[in-house]
């Protein structure tokens, strides 16, 4: 995929199948003009989350407009925060972790991102799901 001006989306789940499945839904429903990556499962292929894999997913979905991360359970959030902190400093402030349900949040965030919205708007759109 050529470098996109749109916000990128990263999906982090304890399950590789959930992460990949959610990414599939985003691709089918939103198309491929949003940089998208999924990180699911631990380094051994079991259930869990893996900081190195999350960092790689952020790299893959990187856009100068920033990256929005959708997570499932607590460990995914903690490991995503850790991954963000270990990214180069100039990228850190352009990465957000959305407080939103992972599947709906990913689809909504990607839909918003595909229209060229800013990172803050993408995040707000995903997080509206929590107050809806």
């Amino acid at each position: 995929m050529p470098a996109s001006k749109n916000v990128g989306i990263v999906i982090v789940s304890h399950s590789a199948k959930v992460a990949e499945g959610a990414a599939d839904m985003v691709r089918q429903m939103v198309g491929d003009n949003v940089p998208l990556a999924a990180a699911g499962g631990n380094a051994e292929g079991g259930l869990g989350t893996d900081v190195a894999a999350i960092m790689a997913a952020i790299d893959k979905a990187w856009s100068e407009a920033g990256v929005a991360i959708l997570v499932d359970l607590g460990g995914a959030e903690t490991n995503s925060e850790m991954a963000v902190e270990m990214m180069p400093e100039e990228r850190r402030e352009r990465i957000v972790i959305c407080n939103a349900p992972i599947v709906e949040g990913a689809v909504m965030a990607a839909t918003e991102a595909s229209g060229g919205s800013s990172l803050a708007v993408v995040q707000a759109t995903a997080e509206e799901l929590m107050s809806a």
């Binding site: 631990n42 380094a43 051994e44 869990g48 989350t49 900081v51 190195a52 903690t78 490991n79």
Partner: protein, 200 residues
């Protein structure tokens, strides 16, 4: 701190986690997702595998390297939590720390772990062992390496009647009561291993 002592401490911590991996997993099966022993074992075995590289560094950098390795290898929420603990100790400690330095650095590390886990004391986590350990270090006195293992053992046991507020165990609510927190137990094991290695 010389390289030999750093090696001894890494071997002691890894040994304690490997020996008790099944016990930690059993504790985690009761109230969590049942992988704490396996995760911690994987993390510390990775530290052991890089021991020569790590121990060649001055203590602050060695601690940061241990923290980074744990973050990358442990998986699950305990990776960032223990990673944050060791990285902060590395940031706060001088190359040749005194007990007072340790107490001050551990206080900073506890704050960092609180922020990372969005947790506080009394919520049935590793913090409930680290805080009494820090208090005992700050209080000081003779025979610390003999007294601290008792302090952390009691502290870990004191998590049994608590209700979990953070982490996977919090999903169980009242049902988390009556089980020792696996993170409290692993923290107690690590502290005890360090005391035994230094006191031996």
């Amino acid at each position: 701190m010389d390289d030999a002592l750093k090696k001894t401490l890494i071997e002691a911590m890894t040994g304690a986690i490997v020996t008790h991996a099944d016990e930690l997993t059993a504790l985690d099966q009761a109230i969590g997702d049942g992988d704490h022993g396996l995760n911690m074992k994987r993390g510390f075995e990775a530290v052991l595998a890089e021991m020569d590289l790590i121990t060649a560094k001055p203590l602050p950098d060695a601690l940061k390297a241990i923290g980074t390795t744990l973050v990358m290898k442990v998986g699950g929420a305990s990776g960032p939590l223990y990673g944050t603990l060791f990285m902060t100790l590395g940031k706060e400690l001088p190359p040749e720390p005194t007990i007072a330095d340790l107490a001050r650095a551990l206080a900073a590390a506890i704050e960092a772990v609180k922020a990372r886990g969005k947790s506080d004391l009394g919520q049935k986590t590793m913090l409930d062992v680290l805080a009494p350990l820090q208090a005992a270090l700050a209080h000081g006195g003779a025979d610390l390496t003999k007294r601290l293992p008792e302090v952390v053992r009691f502290a870990a046991e004191a998590t049994v009647p608590l209700k979990a507020i953070r982490g996977r165990a919090s999903f169980l609510g009242e049902r988390s009561i009556g089980h020792m927190d696996p993170g409290a137990r692993s923290s107690a094991l690590l502290a005890t291993a360090i005391c035994n290695a230094i006191g031996a």
